[in-house]
């Protein structure tokens, strides 16, 4: 038997939003996921254009149209 307040909670939370993750707990995510995700953006957006980490133009040529249509400088 649910109380009226918990029945309310399932549809319309009445509490003010509170932080769900401590800033300290966030730090490792920002460091590790942050680096991996930045690297992903770098490979789509800039590898073998302005700078190059691996030799050849394979990555650049493969994601070439994505780079243009996402608005990164390419040519």
């Amino acid at each position: 038997m649910a109380t009226p307040s918990s029945a309310l909670d399932t549809t319309q939370p009445t509490t003010v939003p509170v932080p769900v993750v401590s800033l300290k707990g966030l730090l490792p995510y920002w460091i590790f996921a942050g680096i991996v995700l930045m690297l992903a953006i770098y490979f789509v957006g800039a590898e073998e254009g302005a700078t190059s980490m691996i030799s050849g133009m394979g990555v650049h040529e493969f994601v070439h149209d994505a780079r243009h249509l996402l608005g990164f400088p390419c040519h």
């Binding site: 649910a2 549809t11 003010v16 939003p17 992903a40 149209d65 249509l69 996402l70 400088p73």
Partner: protein, 260 residues
């Protein structure tokens, strides 16, 4: 909780990237093809004038692959990365910066992200189709492009902080206008301070350029809007324990049944 949010952000990123890819492929590729056509026609004309033939070099990746798998892979990887950052920014902002609920918080972050990462760069270093631009300046153009995005992100943070401070004294509406004004002034200063780069060659058909840039804007808009919608639902479900809205009718009925 952070792990859940991060995984959901990146999964929503896959879907958002897929939708953005469909737009980019069907709306964006026609102007890209047209631009490549202009480039080839120009090269052929110059070669004919010089009495030589255009050197045919075998492409590393075929145009068919670039327009489909390459385009899709690139857009989806970018979208997944943005989805991941969205989840991590959300975890900082939610419950700290405003009293907005999960879906509204996600929508606000995506709106400001679209503004700072997609719209602001477009005003200074707009996207160009292939065949426009020279290889000599690609390094500096890429650098200034990213510098402008970083400036725009800082400007968003500054504007949000100002708006929050002023809202208690001036009310939410006035504070929002003041924050918007600060953002516009900061971006205007950046516009004046950063170097101009105009890579479009004289004689390049303006209609192709316009179509291409609209397609670029559409790709970005679809990406951010899909992330806002999808991650909004995912975050709301993860944090507030709300069933997704399409299941809410059933949940309402069952909770009504238990209370009566």
């Amino acid at each position: 909780m952070m792990r859940t949010l991060l995984v959901r952000g990146m999964l929503v990123g896959v879907v958002a990237g897929l939708l953005a890819f469909l737009w980019a492929h069907f709306v964006g590729e026609p102007p890209v093809r047209a631009a490549i056509g202009v480039e080839e026609a120009t090269a052929a004309k110059e070669a004919a004038a010089a009495g030589t033939k255009v050197a045919e070099e075998a492409p590393l990746v075929s145009r068919d692959t670039q327009e489909t798998w390459g385009l899709g892979t690139g857009v989806i990887i970018f979208s997944v990365a943005i989805g991941g950052f969205l989840a991590m920014v959300f975890a900082i902002v939610y419950g700290r910066v405003s009293k907005l609920r999960a879906r509204a918080t996600v929508a606000a972050i995506c709106g400001l992200g679209f503004l700072a990462i997609s719209l602001v760069p477009l005003t200074k270093y707009p996207a160009n189709p292939p065949a426009v631009g020279s290889g000599d300046t690609i390094s500096e153009r890429t650098e200034w492009f990213f510098v402008l995005i970083v400036i725009a992100l800082f400007a968003v943070v500054a504007a949000v902080r100002l708006g929050k401070q002023l809202s208690e004294r001036w009310g939410a509406a006035n504070a929002t206008f003041a924050a918007g004004l600060l953002f516009v002034v900061l971006i205007a200063v950046a516009h004046l301070a950063l170097p101009n780069e105009n890579e479009v060659k004289a004689g390049f058909p303006p209609q192709i350029l316009w179509d291409f840039r609209l397609a670029n804007l559409g790709t970005q808009a679809i990406l951010w809007a899909s992330l806002a919608f999808g991650f909004g639902i995912a975050a709301e479900h993860a944090i507030e324990g709300k069933p997704a809205w399409w299941r809410r009718d059933a949940a309402d009925k069952s909770s009504a049944a238990t209370t009566t």
